[in-house]
């Protein structure tokens, strides 16, 4: 397990000539990142090829070697000017999910036309296409194939593209690696540090970040901003930070607090970005032990950066919005089931006894359903379970949603069961 040095905003493109299937995907696949659904393979080739320029710009930006104190401005300044302030990063598709069987241009033919596009490719295949997919995989054309008949298509797709997105980010991160000091490289490989940083990024609900070697830390932002600076210090570097604060005339009391790992100060970033006023102190948190890594968060307001929300990617939802949407779908599906007489009538009486499949069964839908049918009560409930499993923030959002709206008791029972399963883990 590694910690990618950059995490670009996630963007997934689905291509299938069957509009109905795309529509199902649009309704059901997670919405906390940008998505695009394209029904014409040729359109897809055109759109993805256009990204080439943006990818090259990003690679250039990340490849510029750092110089030790020769320039007044460094990587942080360049990132803010050319990356966080730039809309083109929202047009970087990290994962393409394409159907194999399409008339005109097949999924593989489409992929062959994208030789210069650096994202990862997932091929959706029918029963008869397995051999084609395997040879495409061996030829390096695709990185994964998923049969459409997979029992749990939703989960296969989400875990598939999450993994692919991670790979894309790790690859981009290699461009930043040369700027790291040997000590930084070493510490970023330690499992405790990887876990601590992952957790911190999740807690901050960042949809993107970039690691900077000098000053050491992460610039990142949520989908609705603002830009934040997560400054990182090791036990050893606290002393050098204190030395800088002494040179900058900080109070002795504050300097001692920094030395002891209670506060961090953003003196270097403040200087580089020529921020107004004095450098700030923020509470430090020990995010990993042995080796010790301290982190503190600073909001960087009033910088010319562009969040995905401001840019207007309206498909993106926060955990709260996503949970609202899922609970709403769940209630609708439940009502439809009641109308069709499909669901146990007892549930409608407010009977909270779970006579229907228990929370474990929920994770694998009945085989009688068409495999790619990702709608229906069970399917929505399963999406809810997968989404809730993403983070503590999603679980918290779900409890808030349950408090803000009325939910039929039967539905509530299922949702509580899902939450209980998560808490048990």
């Amino acid at each position: 397990m590694t910690f990618p040095l950059i995490s670009i905003p996630k963007r997934v493109v689905y291509v299938d000539d069957k509009g109905s299937f795309l529509e199902v995907l649009r309704k059901t696949m997670p919405r906390h990142h940008a998505r695009e659904f394209i029904s014409s393979p040729l359109d897809a080739v055109e759109r993805l090829s256009m990204e080439g320029m943006y990818w090259r710009d990003l690679e250039r930006l990340l490849s510029v070697a750092e110089t030790e104190g020769n320039e007044r401005t460094g990587f942080a300044t360049r990132l803010i000017e050319s990356y966080f302030g730039n809309w083109s990063r929202f047009h970087l598709t990290s994962v393409l999910i394409v159907d194999y069987a399409m008339p005109g241009l097949s999924g593989l033919e489409l992929i062959k036309k994208l030789s210069a596009w650096p994202g990862r490719r997932i091929l959706l295949t029918g029963e008869a296409d397995a051999q084609v997919a395997i040879s495409a995989f061996n030829a390096g054309l695709i990185q994964k194939f998923i049969p459409k008949s997979t029992p749990n298509l939703y989960r296969a797709l989400t875990s598939g593209y999450e993994e692919m997105h991670q790979t894309v980010c790790e690859h981009l991160g290699h461009l930043i690696r040369p700027t790291l000091t040997p000590e930084q490289r070493d510490i970023l490989h330690r499992p405790a540090v990887v876990e601590g940083l992952r957790q911190k990024v999740e807690d901050l609900d960042w949809s993107e970040y970039v690691l900077i070697a000098r000053p050491f830390g992460l610039l990142g932002m949520r989908h609705d901003g603002p830009l934040q600076w997560l400054q990182l210090e090791t036990r050893e570097s606290l002393g050098s930070l204190a030395e800088i604060l002494t040179a900058d005339g900080f109070a002795q009391l504050d300097i001692r607090q920094v030395q002891d790992g209670h506060f961090l100060a953003n003196a270097e970033l403040h200087q580089e970005l020529a921020l107004p006023g004095q450098p700030q102190l923020a509470d430090a948190e020990l995010i990993a032990e042995g080796p010790d890594l301290y982190a503190a968060v600073f909001d960087l307001a009033n910088l010319p950066v562009l969040s995905s929300k401001v840019y207007g990617i309206d498909d993106i939802m926060s955990p709260m919005e996503e949970m609202r949407s899922l609970v709403r779908d769940l209630v609708v599906e439940h009502q439809r089931g009641v109308d069709d007489g499909e669901l146990d009538v007892a549930m409608d009486d407010g009977d909270e006894d779970l006579s229907r499949p228990g929370s474990d069964a929920v994770l694998s839908p009945p085989t009688s359903r068409p495999a790619h049918d990702v709608t229906g009560f069970d399917a929505v409930l399963q999406r809810l379970a997968t989404t809730v499993a993403q983070s503590e923030m999603h679980r918290h959002a779900l409890t808030l949603v349950l408090a803000e709206r009325s939910v039929p008791p039967a539905v509530n029972a299922y949702v509580q069961a899902v939450l209980a399963v998560q808490q048990a883990k």
Binding site: G69, N70, R72, D248
Partner: protein
Amino acid sequence: MLEHDLADDYVTDDWDKSSYLPEWLSSISHLGVKALVVLGPNPFGAPGDREVFTVYPRQHTDAAVMLCRSDAYGAAWRASKSPLVGWSNLATLEPSPAGWPDRFKSAGLASFVRVEMPLPMDRAFECFVFCDEEITDRSKAAELSYAMMSTWPVLKEAVTSAKLEISERERESLVAAADGLTAKQTADRMNCTERTVTHHWGNVMRKTRTPNRVAAVLRVTLFGLI
């Protein structure tokens, strides 16, 4: 009249805080000196950019700004290898569209001596001392120049420190940079961490508004700070 905000763009010094100027002027008042104007390079500008470093008494601020903005002396004068020292009576000057001679005349001044103090990179300080009587022979001008030159080191410190102030540690780090040391070597010399060295350098780049270390070293050299 020039608007005051315009004057403020050119006059950025803090001479009010320095008790040295009135003292300095009274020390040569027996020579009939009534006013002093020092023009110097804009620390952050191109070679030709000059600004008013000092004007005393302050009632001559507008006239000094007019002189500063005119094409009198300055970069072109230096480029033509003109003398470092010279004197003129305001009455005999060609009428200037910049209007500064008239402005000084109407304030009761009659003549001035100009002494140039060269700096690296085509820059210079230009000191003008104004008298209320016309200068009729060279010996008076020589005496005034002598007085200026002999007190210049002290005067210079008073007029430059207000423009650019760097700490002792920052100065040491720049000397090391000028000696060609790397951050690591500088850290060893200064007995501190490399991180602090780059921070010192960054501070000076920010103060001198320069984009890199070489330019920062040159800027502080310009002012004789290292």
